[in-house]
């Protein structure tokens, strides 16, 4: 069996609040994410999902338990740079993570810092831009791009570092529907290429597209399974303050009213198939 991409064992992250009280942002989470998985993490604001994800590339280290990335423990300072090269992070606001005045220079920033030879950097940048379909914008100023395009540039920057895992913290929150679709299509493409994708999102339509959905609530991992197994728990999710995909909620409500629908409906197509036989 291959080494897990991410492995947490009883991992917690605690901090002391202004009143001197110990607060757990993440509490006793154990999980494994295998190379090549597409995982969505959902949870309300303050649930701990971003704190959790920040452990994956050593922006934070556990206060209890362990976090291993590609078999390397994140609390060993020697491993920090190796891990950060393997796991790239994309944040919500596209304008906060672009550093250069030209798109291709921005994408080159990561490999330059890794000391990659110039010729190879060119190759990597060209390859990365092609994979996110931004080649024609290589010489553009990033400020003239749309939000979706900027996020794809941020993703290209990670690809140019030849990272094997991408963690995205609400990458589409500021985008219009078209930009959201562009980013999601890019993520599916990378997933097909074998890259591990970890997507934190408030959009349930996006979470449905993952292989696996994790639900974080009050710092704890409450659910972990396929979208179908998670999203059929409509009432539990609502109690946690989360939304569910509209077709899943419609199916459950209709069943409650006595309409004989099968369990496990989460897409409009499935709902249509069940209703219009």
């Amino acid at each position: 069996m291959s080494t897990p991409m991410i492995k947490l064992e009883h991992m917690s992250h605690a901090y002391t609040d202004e009143n001197g009280k110990t607060v757990y942002a993440v509490k006793d989470i154990s999980l494994e994410i295998q190379p090549g998985e597409f995982v969505a993490i959902i949870g309300t604001n303050g649930s701990g999902k971003s704190t959790l994800a920040k452990h994956f590339n050593v922006l934070l280290v556990p206060t209890e338990g362990t976090c291993e990335v590609c078999g390397l423990r994140t609390d060993d300072p020697q491993h920090v740079w190796d891990i950060r090269q393997q796991v790239g992070m994309v944040f919500q606001n596209p304008d906060n993570q672009i550093v250069a005045a030209v798109v291709e220079e921005d994408v080159a920033f990561g490999p330059e810092n890794l000391g990659v030879p110039p010729e190879e950097i060119r190759q990597r940048v060209a390859d990365a831009l092609e994979r996110v379909q931004m080649t024609i914008y290589a010489k553009h100023g990033p400020h003239l791009l749309s939000g979706g395009q900027k996020q794809r540039i941020a993703i290209a920057g990670i690809l140019a570092m030849q990272s094997r895992c991408i963690v995205l913290d609400e990458p589409t929150a500021m985008l219009d529907p078209k930009g959201r679709q562009e980013v999601m299509e890019t993520l599916h493409q990378l997933h097909r290429e074998g890259i591990t994708v970890i997507l934190i999102t408030h959009f349930m339509e996006e979470a449905v597209q993952a292989d696996r959905v994790m639900v974080v609530h009050h710092g704890e991992l409450k659910m972990d399974g396929t979208p179908r197994s998670v999203f059929t728990h409509v009432d539990e999710l609502k109690q946690m303050g989360l939304d569910v995909p509209v077709p899943a909620e419609l199916a459950v409500r209709l069943r409650e009213k006595g309409v004989p629908l099968p369990e496990g409906i989460i897409t409009k197509e499935e709902l249509g198939d069940a209703l219009c036989q």
Binding site: T44, N45, A173, P245, V246, G272, L275
Partner: protein
């Protein structure tokens, strides 16, 4: 009482290689008491439009009047009318800067020349309005709050200037469903109780469909659609699609089911209404 745009054109970077016309000959009247949703893809001109409404941008040609006053003038009357239009920018929590929450909220009213007593009253009232207890939070640092609470402080700062027109640019971006509902419940209450005109810029059609009584879709710097939201969703899908915007998720599912031959009513706002609509449509069906 209204905000009126007459033949407004706005061009960025006139004379430079990056010259771009963001709005092209837009005429529009926003009447008192309306709740308007503005939608359009990135670059459609939404942000330019809302910044013209309170004088942050001046039209390249055409006029913007608030309650009959041309707000491009330098007069006192024009300034007062610009003050009547409050604007909550995207991610307003990044604009907090004061040491305490009360001081941050007081910034607007103090700059509008209110005396200390009135400023204090406005701060208290605005905090109450956004659901932050004055005694608990007034003297705390805004930077130790959660993202959702910080956003409330930022919104309170705009509400404290008592705008007659309130513009919100993506106020729910990045908030979870509960946070979104709370913020919008407050905005709706403000709209109803004080008869404030609300102009909501959002990518979230769901929010617009539930709250707005008028939907404006911008595309390529022009108004593509202007109508009642449910009417628009029901009758102008092709135009919406061409503008790069989507109908709300509930509508999308119902329209899909309708396309598959189910006799559902797709003019609904909520999941509950959708359930009723589907249930009703199954009335003569073998399932029921």
């Amino acid at each position: 009482m209204s905000i009126k745009l007459e033949h407004v054109t706005y061009t960025y970077g006139t004379g430079s290689p990056f010259e771009k016309t963001a709005l092209q000959d837009v005429s529009l009247e926003i009447k008192e008491g309306e709740f308007i949703g503005i939608i359009g893809h990135t670059g459609s001109g939404k942000s330019t439009l809302v910044q013209l409404l309170n004088g942050l941008l001046q039209p390249t040609s055409g006029t913007v009047t608030v309650n009959g006053q041309d707000i491009s003038q330098k007069s006192k009357a024009a300034m007062e009318m610009r003050h009547a239009v409050g604007m909550v920018f995207q991610y307003p929590e990044y604009q907090l800067f004061e040491e305490t929450i009360a001081k941050d909220i007081a910034f607007g009213p103090r700059n509008f020349g209110l005396n200390a007593e009135d400023v204090a009253k406005r701060v208290r009232e605005a905090m109450e309005f956004v659901g932050l207890d004055y005694d608990t939070y007034a003297d705390r640092s805004p930077f130790r709050l959660s993202g959702g609470q910080m956003r409330r402080v930022a919104i309170a700062g705009v509400i404290a200037i008592h705008p007659q027109y309130l513009i919100l640019d993506e106020p729910s971006a990045g908030l979870d469903p509960v946070g979104r509902r709370e913020i919008f419940a407050e905005i709706q209450r403000w709209h109803k109780e004080k008869n404030i005109t609300v102009i909501l810029v959002s990518h979230n059609m769901d929010d617009i469909s539930r709250m707005a009584n008028r939907l404006i879709v911008l595309s390529e710097g022009q108004i593509l659609i202007d109508g009642e939201p449910l009417d628009v969703f029901a009758t102008q899908q092709d135009k919406l699609h061409s503008a790069g915007v989507a109908v709300p998720p509930v509508t999308e599912v119902l329209q899909y089911l309708k396309g598959r031959g189910l006799a559902v009513e797709d003019r609904v706002h909520t999941v509950d209404e959708a359930v009723a609509s589907i249930y009703h449509s199954l009335g003569g069906n073998k399932h029921a």
